[in-house]
Symmetry: C2
């Protein structure tokens, strides 16, 4: 069976001029490294659930992306991290929201999937659950980079919420989708949310059906963008429904949601998706999307524009 | 144009013997009163969004149901309230989770829909937002009834989470769906969640797509039951997708989700739904569902079994 994996590091970027060649090269290098972490697991016969989890841990650890270390700060100058993961075999899922001390939110989401009767835990109860499951806890300022702090100081007190990097219109999220040697699908997403978001705001990333979806019968999907529009379009599960009920291909379904249905409501962003034959789709309606994929034939794609 | 409204007060109840005739009569009386509150607004030409909001406020104020006053207590013996509302005209939505001091969670969800760039606010930030919008705040023990406290004392320290009323297997939520004179649809849901739930657990009620969905092109849906299964089936938006993409009628789509897809994963519960012609469906896979409806011809339905 073909194996395949795709990851993203956020969408946005209206102008090429706003991304320096040096920064772009650093991001592309990191994306390549992170996608290969997941692909290595698939190559060794590992499960798609493990591959997406490992790829997202790598993205969380990389300070270039808005998840885990390097996440943006909310309107109070604090970190609040969200993540979710879904297993296409039985549609079991785990998600966490507004974490403040758990180093890798995707590991907390995975612990919820494995060990909880619940699917979504939010706030202090979610960090507490992660602690009970021996996940590493850090001080909130461990996540904070100087760049994010300066960014927060610039927008603090304004109503601006859509920015991620500096003056770039990036909706930062990270995510991964994979198809393993058994044809099983999985999806995972993680984020720090929007810069200057109101205390307690949850976007689409921790919401199963909006930010993350996986169903072996159709596809695994991760979305990134202005989360509210992905909630209103039920974006991730919608790609699956368009395939199952509407007869669309993976590419058609992902394009329709990311490039038609989300923009029709006024939103923007991108989607990564994979089906059980290893086909990958990565459409976006923004200027760019940080992304990487390893196709069934071993070809590695890394791109921004 | 025909007007119609349906409400529910939770599903569950495996045995008739566990619901006393006196308690059933009280519940049915309350359901009739609450559905008529919403219907009165529709009759006067009011919007479906206003009708579902008013009906849910009435249900929240009634201590018989697990929402607002009379809500269940979590594993810490505390109240955490969730609600969501969606407008089928443009799929705008608002939701709140883990409120502790806002008297009417559905009014907070509506304030998010009307006044926030965000869709979902959770925790102290959500109560704070409600305060900013002049919504009444109460002490947490205002919500607590003696019955709920005794129930908490019985299950505290155990792993039991699925109970609502005493020994009855009720998944308490309240909700409303309506079609107004303009053919516009809206849906609203509110809950205290599951008895003895872990701190921070969010079910399907605050999740747009799982617990609540409204789209003028298809239907308005509210779900009640074991929330985790309604998240994994993307229940509310799924009813809409089965109509739009699968060609099913409202009754067929609602039945398929509530009585086939949710039970296939091991879950149970019910759905209320209305389409733009005023057709109402109220299927459930549990022994009973507290429900009431006013059909386009003025007929009032109230039932449990």
């Amino acid at each position: 069976m073909p194996i395949a994996i795709a990851i993203h590091g956020g969408a946005g970027l209206s102008h090429k001029a706003r991304l320096s060649p040096d920064h772009q090269e650093k991001c592309e290098h990191a994306l390549r490294r992170c996608v290969l972490v997941g692909h290595e697991i698939l190559q060794q016969g590992g499960k798609s659930l493990e591959a997406v989890r490992a790829a997202v841990v790598s993205l969380e650890e990389c300070p270039l992306f808005n998840a885990g270390k390097g996440a943006v700060l909310n309107a109070q100058g604090e970190i609040e991290l969200d993540a979710s993961i879904m297993d296409g075999r039985d549609r079991s899922a785990g998600a966490v929201a507004a974490l403040r001390t758990t180093r890798n939110p995707i590991l907390a989401a995975h612990a919820v999937l494995k060990h909880s009767k619940h699917i979504l835990l939010a706030g202090p109860g979610a960090d507490h659950f992660a602690t009970l499951h021996q996940l590493e806890q850090v001080q909130p300022d461990w996540f904070r980079t100087e760049k994010r702090w300066q960014q927060y100081l610039r927008v603090s007190g304004t109503e601006t919420v859509a920015l991620d990097h500096d003056t770039e219109n990036v909706y930062g999220t990270v995510g991964a989708v994979a198809c393993d040697v058994h044809g099983d699908l999985a999806a995972a997403s993680s984020t720090g949310g929007m810069v200057n978001k109101k205390h307690g705001r949850l976007g689409d990333t921790p919401l199963i059906g909006a930010g993350t979806w996986a169903d072996n019968r159709t596809c695994a999907v991760g979305s990134t963008g202005h989360g509210e529009y992905f909630i209103r379009t039920n974006a991730a599960a919608r790609v699956s429904a368009l395939m199952e009920l509407g007869g669309l291909t993976l590419a058609e379904a992902a394009h329709r949601v990311a490039c038609e249905e989300v923009p029709e409501l006024g939103g923007a962003g991108g989607i990564i998706a994979v089906d059980h034959t290893g086909h990958i789709a990565m459409p976006f309606s923004t200027g760019g999307m940080f992304r990487a994929a390893v196709h069934p034939d071993g070809r590695v794609d890394v791109g921004v524009w």
